[in-house]
Structure formats: structure tokens, C-alpha cells
């Protein structure tokens, strides 16, 4: 970056006349971060998500070396105390440690679903929007059909057919979660392809693929990411629901939904077994909802 001597960093970031594309992008990011930090709800959401990431990475350390799967049958269903901060479950496993390690499963599922869903949605949406004609009609019809389907039930049926497990739960959720992204990407593409710079690229002889990947996809990304953040809570709740029904992570893996399910039988006497992992799910999805709302306010002020 070329910082002129009379300029401070904040002036360089906030200038109305950026001299390079990189400066413009940096300035845009800077303004977005500032408006998120200025919005207390969005900031709270961001902090919760950063905490989730930190907990997932530092789980062994934060759990004070207690294994999430070590059974201690003498200490079954032990109430919370100093040795077991959140009590123990029906096999005497430490719920505090299991809750921390559960963050890893949740984070992994969320990341995997995003990595699958965004490319599929972008591919279907941009192709439909850019090529138009019958390809557009066919792709959008398929999207509509998936969109019309109740999400959890479809994910349930997929997960039941594929068999239980984290990977299959991720596939099942992804199969039901991509349509909104295709819709958004298509809408953006239709607008973008009418712009002059796309015609200019075409006249210079750019191939369809080049235009799609180099010009259209990058411009669709920001609205797709906002939508993804808003969807995250739903994805987490669906994943936890599948786990609760026994279709997600399999024992002895610590997964929040499955942990709540394990506490069902003893809810009336040992409330902590089911309650604490549920609070974890709630906090994390609240975090994504708060951040998503904030991001939408920043990037798309119209829809609030």
C-alpha cells in the first residue's frame, strides 16, 4: 500500500478517492467493521461467535484436561459442584468438558455446510441468471421444488436414508439449504449481467466462464455471505435437531443436540443434563442471529 506522508492510516482508509482497487476494498471493509462495532447487538453476536471459535480450539485446555468421553460410573448424574462445574451425565461423563468439546462438532458442521452450500447455490444461481432461457427455467424450477419442501423433514428423510452420522447429517442439511443462495445469486446475476462492464468484457472476447468466475461471482458474494450468517442459526438448530433425534453425531462424540436428548429421561430429577447443552445451542444461534441482523443492516439497509 502506498501511504502518502501527510496521510494517517484512517485518512487513507476513509478517502473518497481511492487510488487503487485494493485501497477501495480496504476502505469498504473498514467502514463495514466500524458500523458493526457501532451496533451493540451485532457486536455482541460477533463476540459470541469469536468465543465459540476460541472454545472449539481451546477445548482441551479449558476443560482442565478432563476427557469428554471418560466414563465414571460411580459418579453418575452428579449435580454441579466444584469438581464437575456442570455436573455429570448418565455415564458419569463431565458435562462441562462435553459442552466445550461440543463446540467443535457444531463449528465443524457449520463450516462444512457453508463450504458445500455456497458453491452449489452460486453455481446454480449464476448459471441460471447469466445463461437465461430454458436453462434458467429448469434450474429455477428445481430450486423452487426444494424451497417448497419443509427443511427439517427433508433433512430427516435424507439422513434416515443415508444412515446416521455427522457427515450424512451435513449432506442432508446441505441438500436442503442451498436453494435460497441460488435464488439470491440469480437475482444478483440478472442485474449485473445488464451492466456495461459485462458487455465490455464480452466485447474484449472474455469467455462465459471467465465472466462468470472473474466478474459475476465476486459481486454476488457479499449478499450470499449476509444470507449465510442469517441462515447459520437455522442450520445449527437443524443440526441439533438431527442430533437430538439420534441422526447426527454418534456416541460417544459430544454433540449438543444428542446431549439434550440424553437428558430427556432424567429431566425431572437431574435438570442439568439436558438444560446446559441446550443453553449452549441457544447462545450460539442467538450470536449468529444478532450478527446476521447487523450485517444485513450494514450491507442492505433497504430490507430492514
Amino acid at each position: 500500500m502506498i501511504l502518502q506522508q501527510s496521510q494517517t492510516l484512517s485518512q487513507w482508509l476513509q478517502t473518497d478517492a481511492p487510488v487503487s482497487a485494493r485501497q477501495a476494498a480496504a476502505g469498504k471493509t473498514y467502514r463495514a467493521i466500524r458500523s458493526i462495532v457501532a451496533n451493540p447487538a451485532a457486536l455482541a453476536g460477533l463476540i459470541i461467535i469469536l468465543l465459540l471459535i476460541a472454545v472449539a480450539f481451546l477445548a482441551p485446555f479449558l476443560a482442565r484436561g478432563i476427557s469428554p468421553i471418560a466414563q465414571d460410573l460411580d459418579n453418575r448424574l452428579h449435580a454441579p459442584d466444584l469438581a464437575h462445574w456442570f455436573g455429570t451425565d448418565e455415564l458419569g461423563r463431565d458435562i462441562y468438558s462435553r459442552t466445550l468439546y461440543g463446540a467443535r462438532v457444531t463449528l465443524a458442521m457449520v463450516l462444512l455446510v457453508s463450504v458445500i452450500v455456497v458453491p452449489i447455490g452460486l453455481a446454480v444461481g449464476t448459471l441460471a441468471g447469466f445463461l437465461g432461457g430454458w436453462i434458467d427455467s429448469v434450474l429455477m424450477r428445481i430450486t423452487d421444488i426444494f424451497l417448497a419442501f419443509p427443511r427439517l423433514v427433508l433433512a430427516l428423510a435424507f439422513a434416515a436414508a443415508l444412515g446416521p452420522g455427522i457427515e450424512n447429517a451435513v449432506i442432508a442439511i446441505s441438500l436442503t439449504a442451498w436453494p435460497p443462495y441460488a435464488r439470491i445469486a440469480r437475482a444478483e446475476t440478472v442485474t449485473i449481467s445488464k451492466s456495461d462492464f459485462i458487455s465490455a468484457a464480452k466485447m474484449q472476447g472474455a469467455s462465459t466462464w471467465r465472466i462468470l468466475f472473474k466478474h459475476i461471482v465476486p459481486l454476488c458474494l457479499s449478499s450470499v455471505i449476509v444470507r449465510l450468517t442469517l441462515d447459520m442459526a437455522g442450520i445449527i438448530l437443524t443440526a441439533a435437531g438431527l442430533g437430538f433425534l439420534g441422526l447426527g453425531a454418534q456416541p460417544p462424540t459430544a454433540e449438543w443436540g444428542a446431549m439434550v436428548s440424553a437428558g430427556r429421561e432424567v429431566i425431572l430429577d437431574q435438570w442439568w443434563v439436558a438444560t446446559i447443552p441446550g443453553v449452549a445451542i441457544f447462545i450460539v444461534s442467538l450470536g449468529f442471529n444478532l450478527l446476521g441482523d447487523g450485517l444485513r443492516d450494514v450491507f442492505d439497509p433497504k430490507s430492514t
Binding site: 417448497a148 419442501f149 430427556r264 439436558a274 442467538l286
Partner: protein
């Protein structure tokens, strides 16, 4: 006079066209839905032939059954067969109950219908006024409270809220009854007419049973209602904010209408049309929420039927339930679309 007639024929042909596009989009979506469930049934690791002949059968018997089930035919032909059976109401037999899946579904559906209907009524009665008040008092404490209530509704896992509700309201306070639809002592007293216990008990004048059924219903229904309330209130709020910024509101105020008079008498009627769609959609999604809620509350409805089938690898039952929920979902979706076009005067006279 002639103009009038032309207008009428135009309107009639318009209505026909609309009905045509409605039916074709219904048919297309139905085809898509069944294609997806058909593919899911082909994805299972359970060998349908082995399930019938057992693993001791000879190769000959196996091949014969394989051909008999039509598994040697191309996928598209198999799908055609599946569709034909489905249209005649044949969803196969449930392994678990050894009854036709359709019979099972008819048997369990009323319980879910009762739960979802009570929930949507509660959701509308609280959510709509809540959204209107939030919009009218935008930025004030009422708005903030409703915003937080909605935000929580979007973030809380429904199955967890059910468990906590059971723990507090049934276990600790004893205000409501526990799981199931009735206390064990009341089972099988009322004859099943509609399958909806509140109605059946009332018809026979069994008020004890009515009260008992109600005390079982109220908690799961309230929990489902909370989730639809969050969605309905949020949408109502944004529709109302849109209307309240229009000039006719200012005109009404200048004319001397009170603020709340303008809100309820002028702005509110204008959001009725989109509101119908929102209510329809949230009613449909209640069916989905019912899957998890029914599991928690041991509510013998569609959701519990599907999850029980899941664990017993009863694919016919799972797919039958999925098709039913999918069809109700699509039906409500399209019906709302249709209502939207009929009730909105701007869309009526194109």
C-alpha cells in the same frame, strides 16, 4: 354496456389463466416432490429384496423377487410405477405396524392437526397485535421487548424449550399435565369421531376428559405457538412500518383521526393480504416443528410416527409421512399465493 361485457370476458379469461397456471405449478411441484422422495428411497442402504426374502434365500429366489419388484427396469420406469401407486393412495406397508402407511397416516394426522391448529390460533392472537404495537411504537420499549421475544424465538431449540417447559411447569409447578394426549385413566373412553380429542370429548359431554386433554395440549401448543408468534410478529411489524410511512396515514391524522385509530382502522386493513400468506406459511412450518415437539411430548401424531419409523428403518412410513407433510406444505403455499392474487385488488384487475 359493450365495454362492460369485454371487461367481464377479460376478467373471466384472466381467472381461467390464473387457475391454469396454479394447477400446472401444483402438478410440477408434486412431480418434483415425489421424484425427491423416490430418489431418497433408492438411496437407502436397506436392500428391499433382502427385506422380503431374507438372507437365506437362494440366488434364484432373490433374482425373481428383484424382477418382481421391477428393480431391473430403468429408473424412470420405476419412478412411473411409484407415482402410479402413490396416486392411487398406495404408499406401501409399514414394517412397524404391518398396516398400509396411508391408514396409519390418517390415524395419526388428527393429533398433529389439533396441536398445530391450537398453536397457530395462539400465535396469531398474540403475534399480530404484538407486531402492530411494535411498529406503531417503533424504537420505544414496546418495540424492543417484542424484538427480543422474537429474536429468542428464532434462536431457541424447540426440543429444548419443550423439555425445560416440562421440567418447570409440570415437574416443579404442576400447572399442566405431562406427556401424551391424556392421563392413562382416561384412555379409550371417548369414541373417536374426528380424532381431535377436544372436539370428540365435547361432543359426548365428557368435560373431565376435555379438561384433561386440554391440560396435556396447552404446553406443547404454547411452545409451538411461540415459534410461529416470533415469525408472525416480525413480519407484521415490517408490513405495518411500511404502511405507517404512507401519506394516507398523515392525511387521516390531519383529518383528526387519533394515532391508534389510524393504525388500526387505516393501516392495519392494508396489511391483511400479505399477512394471510405469512400465517399460512407459519402454519405449514408448524407441521415441521411438530416433528421435534411431538418427540419430546410423546404426542402420538405425524411427527412421532415419522421419528419412530426412522429408528426402525421403516422407510415406507418415513417417505409416506414426508410426502404427506410435503404435500400439505406445498398445498398451503400455493393456496396462499392464490388467495394473495384474489384478495389484492391491484393484482385482480391487471
Amino acid at each position: 354496456m359493450v365495454d362492460d361485457q369485454i371487461g367481464r370476458t377479460n376478467a373471466a379469461s384472466h381467472a381461467l389463466k390464473r387457475a391454469g397456471s396454479f394447477i400446472s405449478s401444483l402438478a410440477l411441484t408434486f412431480l418434483g416432490l415425489t421424484a425427491i422422495t423416490f430418489l431418497i428411497s433408492r438411496m437407502t442402504k436397506i436392500d428391499p429384496v433382502l427385506a422380503i426374502v431374507g438372507d437365506k434365500a437362494s440366488k434364484e429366489v432373490y433374482d425373481k423377487t428383484y424382477a418382481m419388484l421391477g428393480l431391473d427396469k430403468p429408473l424412470i420406469v420405476q419412478y412411473g410405477g411409484y407415482l402410479r401407486k402413490l396416486l392411487s393412495g398406495d404408499m406401501g406397508t409399514s414394517v412397524l405396524t404391518s398396516q398400509p402407511v396411508l391408514t396409519d397416516l390418517i390415524h395419526v394426522f388428527p393429533a398433529t392437526f389439533e396441536l398445530a391448529t391450537v398453536a397457530i390460533v395462539m400465535g396469531v392472537l398474540i403475534g399480530v397485535p404484538g407486531g402492530v404495537i411494535a411498529a406503531a411504537r417503533k424504537g420505544h420499549w414496546q418495540d424492543q421487548v417484542i424484538r427480543v421475544v422474537c429474536l429468542f424465538g428464532y434462536s431457541i431449540p424447540v426440543f429444548w424449550l419443550g423439555l425445560v417447559g416440562l421440567f418447570v411447569l409440570y415437574g416443579k409447578l404442576g400447572w399442566v399435565s405431562g406427556t401424551g394426549r391424556l392421563d392413562i385413566g382416561y384412555d379409550d373412553i371417548v369414541t373417536t369421531r374426528s380424532g381431535i380429542l377436544l372436539i370428540d370429548a365435547a361432543l359426548e359431554g365428557q368435560w373431565d376428559i376435555f379438561r384433561n386433554a386440554f391440560s396435556h395440549l396447552i404446553l406443547p401448543a404454547s411452545i409451538l405457538a411461540y415459534f410461529s408468534l416470533a415469525y408472525i410478529a416480525r413480519m407484521t411489524r415490517s408490513f405495518m412500518i411500511d404502511q405507517l410511512s404512507q401519506e394516507y396515514i398523515i392525511a387521516a391524522r390531519i383529518k383528526g383521526r387519533s394515532y391508534w385509530g389510524a393504525v388500526w382502522k387505516h393501516a392495519f386493513p392494508n396489511i391483511m393480504v400479505p399477512l394471510i400468506t405469512v400465517i399460512g406459511l407459519s402454519y405449514a412450518s408448524l407441521l415441521e416443528g411438530a416433528v421435534l415437539t411431538e418427540t419430546v411430548f410423546a404426542w402420538p401424531g405425524l411427527g412421532q410416527y415419522i421419528t419412530r419409523a426412522l429408528f426402525n428403518s421403516d422407510m415406507n412410513a418415513v417417505l409416506g409421512g414426508t410426502v404427506l407433510i410435503g404435500m400439505v406444505f406445498i398445498g398451503i403455499n400455493l393456496f396462499c399465493d392464490f388467495l394473495y392474487k384474489i384478495f389484492d385488488p391491484r393484482l385482480r384487475s391487471a
